[in-house]
Symmetry: C2
Subunit: 506 residues, 2 copies
């Protein structure tokens, strides 16, 4: 201990080490998905498990708890709003980390890796029954986990899991947002289904060589503000963003020669996540909650806002289409801005969540939320999941599910025990729509700026309102601060209807 | 502790963790040189320093020493030659790791990173005087390190450093090999200089697009036996091989449009290193000395053998030229096997070590070895290094050194305190030449096999004789076992003269 070192300094040293180990864990994960040769797989699991153990030891170290206690008793810190928020979040993390016994941590991790393998096989073989025992085990273990963590006052076990991804949100609050949204979306989708307008897939299915798409995607990501001196864009099977520490936020996307618009949407989505990561004050406070994202919903709001509100807007394509023509050449030359705008906004209900359009996407999410909540509450037996799933798909999206592979086996989340994760996708869409309304009010000439490829004012607005704060404010409060409103489903609905009614002449 | 766990099992658990952390360190290093965005540099240094601290703690843990002692007292292990060798090497590693006080470890590491920066600037500015204080400091710190480590009986301080890279070798033994080699090489090079034969650079300077070179290099590396399911080939400023653990050995190379032969030589060199790494029994014994390379000299013998003895042979080009024509196309179409063979074997003394041909290369190394040894012994003051360097370049290679940038400032090694590293390059060449003679005796029709692109018998021979043993035998003994002879300079000389005399019509 150095002279004049305060307990908060000593806390920072420990957090810095935890932050550094987390960044190493992130590199191991990034490399695994992008660069690692196939035969390295089993050893990589060993590396990840070692780092995860080193992290767990440090996050649950009683000495960390003591330091935290000392800091909490320091009136100088209590009087500093930033540091006080930092301590509030640290206490939350420390509590969550220490409340789960090591045996259960180990069993959850072991089960997740085996259940994920079982899920992969089950999906491939279209055999729900072989996955069922693993689903049951995950639900049971995650009930135990929820019990250890403890639900918020007046809450239910599921809330303790949701809290992991969306701190401060409960299942009943989420349901109160989702229920009217589903109602309204379902009836709006029926209107669209009856519209006489049918789109030619056009731009969405133009055939463009992958190299040209890569160049185009890179140029767009750069123009949105993604700092490539502090990041990189690679290819992976499932696109993702990985924050690897200060100065290092990497994104991936995937290309198909006949789906250039999907690749761009995916790149803009990940760019949105990456802009958030690059805007967090990591340099100043490595490992501190203040340098971390507020919630998964807020994270998703950043990706969705750039992917959808920006990337599917007419002004964006006024700027992007000439660039697309220049880089992608002949395959896109015949399309007008209007053609592309209509093409990337087509509403076509699909069986697969990740292939869905902006409007139906949320129905996919709410269905999953309802079903996982019902399983958690004991209202739905896991063995009845396929029937419940198929029933809801018919009711909400009007689609018949031909097999479980394209039904309840399509997503990885439940296999790895990520209950409470799904709702954050739609929460992200709700936050994004609210932020978009606020941005349009507050940034002069936003459409014109976007049409000129000037994205800096929007980015700066998000930097100041969202990114710079890290976890200083709980997600709900952060949303209120930037949008001036309570969370609600109406802005998303206004946004979707405002765009889609003219397109579908409704 | 589990029931029935022996001390050796517990030792293995600890080594496995050390091996896993080393592999993580290797990934951080590999990523830094190949993928990492520039702004991540300073945080990466922090990650590396954390892992290095975690490793140091584990390698010097007294509990490891106690376990080692228990195993050493176990007669069952003493009777098992493999395990006994493993313990011998572990004792050596543990001794070396624990003999250097932590303060000195930290100072060496801090100095190396600052001295390397100073060296980079000094080289760029061609300003030896700004590097001199760092060189002096490195020598002084490394003298302290050598004193802590202790020289072998009858040896000198430098030997304690050489021992790090080439266990069992002393400076005087190296000098006894090098002195006659230098003598013989120098006079042979004078003969070549007077030969009437002058080469058209030809193939070596053919202009070939980098993409085509990449494809060609990849095909060759694969054909030599490099398992790309357990590795990958990327680009970096300085080519290197990194063993990242079981199933993961990655190589890099660099391309210049007008130097296709250099890129191939570099790829074959790194492939040689990678074949050794892939042949070590890492799966079976992660973290154990038995799964590690015997010495830097032995490692270098594997890279040199594939780069030179194979890659600059006529039979190799009989196989490779048709492939080169197929992949590289027009730029190489006009060359015959003989043209290429002469072109890649041209002897042209150069100022820069890494650009040198196979024959003059060793003169570069021996010069560095003599000078670092003289500085270490106190026979040469670091301030007189430039004059001594230039004098030797004139004497040994007949070249006038125009500036220190192309003289004593060209290499990174001394800036990072890697004294004792240089001689392993030439030791590698000596081992390679001896192994090559033995392989030609023992493998039926080796030339014909190579001319058919059948490299498997040579690889299998190296796997069985060198790779599979790890550190079971000290380097010298390993050499004797596979070649049946004591280390000597004659095989290298025979190899070079046997090839170059006909080419130069001497």
């Amino acid at each position: 201990m150095t002279k004049n070192e305060t307990p908060y300094d000593r806390l920072s040293t420990r957090l810095r080490e935890i932050g550094t180990l987390s960044a190493i864990e992130a590199l191991l994960g990034w490399d695994q998905e992008t660069m690692m040769p196939p035969k390295a797989g089993s050893f990589r699991a060993e590396e990840l498990s070692l780092v995860s153990r080193l992290l767990h030891d440090r996050r649950t170290d009683p000495a960390l708890g003591e330091l935290l206690g000392e800091c909490e008793g320091d009136p100088a810190i209590a009087g500093d709003a930033c540091r006080a928020a930092d301590l509030r979040e640290l206490r939350r993390d420390y509590g969550r980390a220490t409340r789960i016994p090591s045996d259960l941590v180990a069993e959850l991790s072991e089960t997740s890796s085996r259940a994920m393998q079982a899920w992969k096989n089950a999906r491939q073989e279209n055999d729900f029954s072989s996955f069922l025992p693993w689903l049951e085990k995950q639900i049971s273990l995650n009930r135990d986990k929820a019990e250890c963590l403890g639900a918020p006052e007046g809450g239910e076990p599921y809330d303790a899991l949701l809290e992991e991804y969306e701190p401060g949100m409960t299942a009943s609050e989420a349901a109160a947002l989702f229920d009217p949204l589903r109602e309204a979306l379902s009836s709006f989708l029926s209107e669209i289904a009856e519209s006489p307008v049918r789109h030619d897939p056009g731009f969405v299915e133009a055939k463009v060589p992958v190299e040209a798409q890569q160049e185009f995607n890179l140029q767009v990501a750069k123009r949105l503000g993604y700092d490539l001196e502090a990041g990189r864009l690679d290819v992976s099977v499932h696109p993702f963003t990985e924050g690897l520490g200060p100065g290092d936020t990497r994104i991936t996307t995937r290309y198909r020669e006949d789906r250039p618009a999907d690749a761009l949407a995916s790149t803009m989505h990940e760019t949105g996540h990456a802009l958030y990561e690059q805007g967090l004050p990591k340099d100043r406070l490595p490992g501190h909650p203040l340098s971390q994202a507020a919630s998964m919903g807020i994270h998703e709001s950043q990706s969705r806002l750039w992917e959808n509100q920006v990337g599917r807007s007419r002004p964006f394509w006024e700027w992007a289409l000439p660039l697309a023509r220049e880089i992608l050449g002949a395959p896109v030359e015949s399309y007008s801005v209007d053609d592309v705008y209509r093409s990337v906004n087509a509403v076509i209900p699909k069986l697969i969540r990740v292939e869905s359009d902006e409007a139906t996407y949320n129905l996919h999410i709410m269905l999953r939320f309802d079903l996982e909540l019902a399983m958690f509450r004991g209202d739905l037996s896991p063995r009845d999941l396929p029937a419940a799933w198929n029933d809801r798909m018919k009711r909400d999206l009007g689609l018949r599910v031909p097999d479980d592979r394209r039904g309840c086996l399509q997503d990885i989340h439940w296999s790895v025990g990520a209950f409470g994760y799904f709702p954050t996708y739609t929460l992200g869409n709700l936050y994004a729509a609210q932020m978009w309304e606020a941005a349009r009010r507050e940034i002069l000439d936003l459409d014109r700026r976007i049409a000129c490829g000037e994205f800096g004012s929007l980015l700066e607005w998000l930097r100041a309102g969202v990114h710079a704060h890290g976890r200083r404010y709980p997600a709900g409060e952060l949303g209120r601060r930037i949008t001036g409103a309570e969370p609600g489903y109406e802005p998303l609905l206004r946004y979707l209807e405002g765009k889609l009614r003219p397109i579908y002449r409704l």
